[in-house]
């Protein structure tokens, strides 16, 4: 099995020179958000790293995550990360292979029991809706539970797998759950985003590859290296925020000048992701740079937090009707209190006269 080879072996088999290897390590360290001084450590680790077996299970999802990652990586250097792992099963990519692909998965799971890395994208329908999402006759819930048993760790790819995402959005018609809702006895790395930044996923895989460990996670199970700082703090438009210069609409002068998008509902201040530094499409741009506020897609339940275009500081205070009813109730209570007090007053005044 290919899993027994080291990454160094694989690369040399690809005819990669030492210079190329060092270049690969530099890019990988950068991807993992490690400082450049760590490159030699990375190089030593990669050289001797065993290729882990990886099983990728897509559940209730839109394939956006797979699209994002495969589109970006195929012809690039990051692609080598994928070459370095042994992707033994990816249902969507292998669909044409039918039963043989399923067999491959079973085989990989058996051979690498306890050691393989399980990647999941999509949420999982549960309870009476369990059967609403199946592959090859197995419900996804059962597949997840089976696959999780032998996994060394699980990577939840995308917000659906990590937090339930859009399927879980109110009213959650399939009672969708995230991986971490269902599996509690395995280390889980959440790589949320809708889709996640491809570089971030490869960075997480590289970390696992290089160090063989789970990276440091934040309270939402996300790797600190990529999700440690919010978009707002790393945003190149931040100076505009500080100066109080805002785009008021998407086509005003401020928008053309690239002013801060806070007033247009940007969720940057409460969204943790690497978009502002890593950016998308090989570093070309990212949502805020292209003029649209952050939607907060790497945050739990981002779909249910009101309009994307509602400023963060605008709260849900209620409505005029509720306030009116409140005022009426207050007036009723007040008048009652006043009437009681008046009674007391009158009594006192009468007694005073007497």
């Amino acid at each position: 099995m290919a899993a027994s080879k080291t990454v160094g072996d694989v690369l040399r088999a690809h005819g990669v020179s030492r210079r190329g290897f060092m270049k690969f390590c530099a890019a990988t360290a950068s991807m993992m958000a490690l400082p450049p001084s760590m490159v030699s450590t990375v190089a030593a680790a990669i050289e001797n790293a065993r290729r882990p077996s990886v099983i990728w299970l897509p559940f209730q999802e839109c394939t956006g995550c797979t699209e994002a990652i495969t589109r970006s990586h195929t012809p690039t250097l990051e692609g080598l990360i994928f070459d370095s792992i042994s992707l033994d099963y990816h249902h969507t990519l292998m669909a044409a292979s039918g039963q043989r692909a399923e067999d491959a998965m079973m085989q990989a799971m058996e051979e690498n029991y306890g050691n393989y890395l399980l990647l999941v994208d999509g949420s999982i329908p549960t309870e009476e809706f369990e059967s609403h999402s199946c592959t090859n006759g197995h419900t996804h819930l059962s597949m997840l539970k089976d696959a999780a048993t032998g996994a060394a760790a699980i990577v939840s790819v995308g917000t659906c797998a990590a937090y339930g995402g859009i399927p879980k959005a109110n009213p959650n018609p399939t009672k969708a759950r995230s991986v971490q809702d269902l599996i509690t006895d395995k280390p889980i790395i959440n790589v949320p985003g809708c889709p996640p930044v491809p570089t971030v996923l490869t960075g997480v895989l590289a970390h696992y590859l290089v160090f063989g460990t789970i990276p440091e996670l934040d309270p939402y199970g996300r790797p600190m290296a990529f999700f440690g700082q919010n978009i707002h703090d790393r945003c190149y438009r931040r100076p505009f925020y500080e100066r109080g210069q805002f785009a008021e609409t998407f086509d005003d002068e401020g928008a053309k000048k690239g002013y801060c998008l806070y007033k247009l509902g940007c969720k940057g201040p409460i969204t943790y992701n690497a978009c502002a530094t890593v950016r998308w499409n090989e570093g070309t741009s990212w949502p805020v740079q292209s003029g649209h506020g952050c939607l907060g897609c790497s945050e739990p339940d981002f779909w249910d937090k009101g309009s994307f275009y509602r400023p963060l500081s605008a709260a849900y205070w209620g409505d005029a009707r509720t306030v009116g009813i409140g005022a009426a109730a207050g007036a009723a209570a007040g008048l009652a209190a006043a009437a009681l007090a008046r009674g007391k007053q009158k009594k006192a005044q009468q007694e005073e006269k007497a």
Partner: protein, 141 residues
Amino acid sequence: MSGLSGIGVKVESGAAAPDEIYANTLPLLHEIRHALARLVESGEPTVIDIQSIPMGPGDMNRLMDALGEGEVRAEFEALGKTVIRESRYGGVWIIEHLNGSGGVAGRFIEITWVPSLLQAQREDVEAGLEALADALAAAGN
């Protein structure tokens, strides 16, 4: 043109963006100055991963303009092209790793006497020695 200008789109280029706004160039240049001083005093090299620093549109171009072109320029092909060039400030090297499709995979500024990637790598030299010896042996000498 009239149709396009009606749409709230502005094509941003390095020159058009106001300088004082995306002010990451200046702090980076200062960081480079400190690194150069360290190199001169103690010979300690520094590598800055500029790809992982938040940059506004045009920021990178401005930084590159500020660093300018120096005397040395080298390229090598390994997993895609890599360009190593000296800036107009001696000892400040700009290293751009391109991937197979020409996209930028990594961009570093190295403050050192000679970038390590320019040197022949020990493993490659060893492999070269072996290969040359094999070639000579094969030639029967």
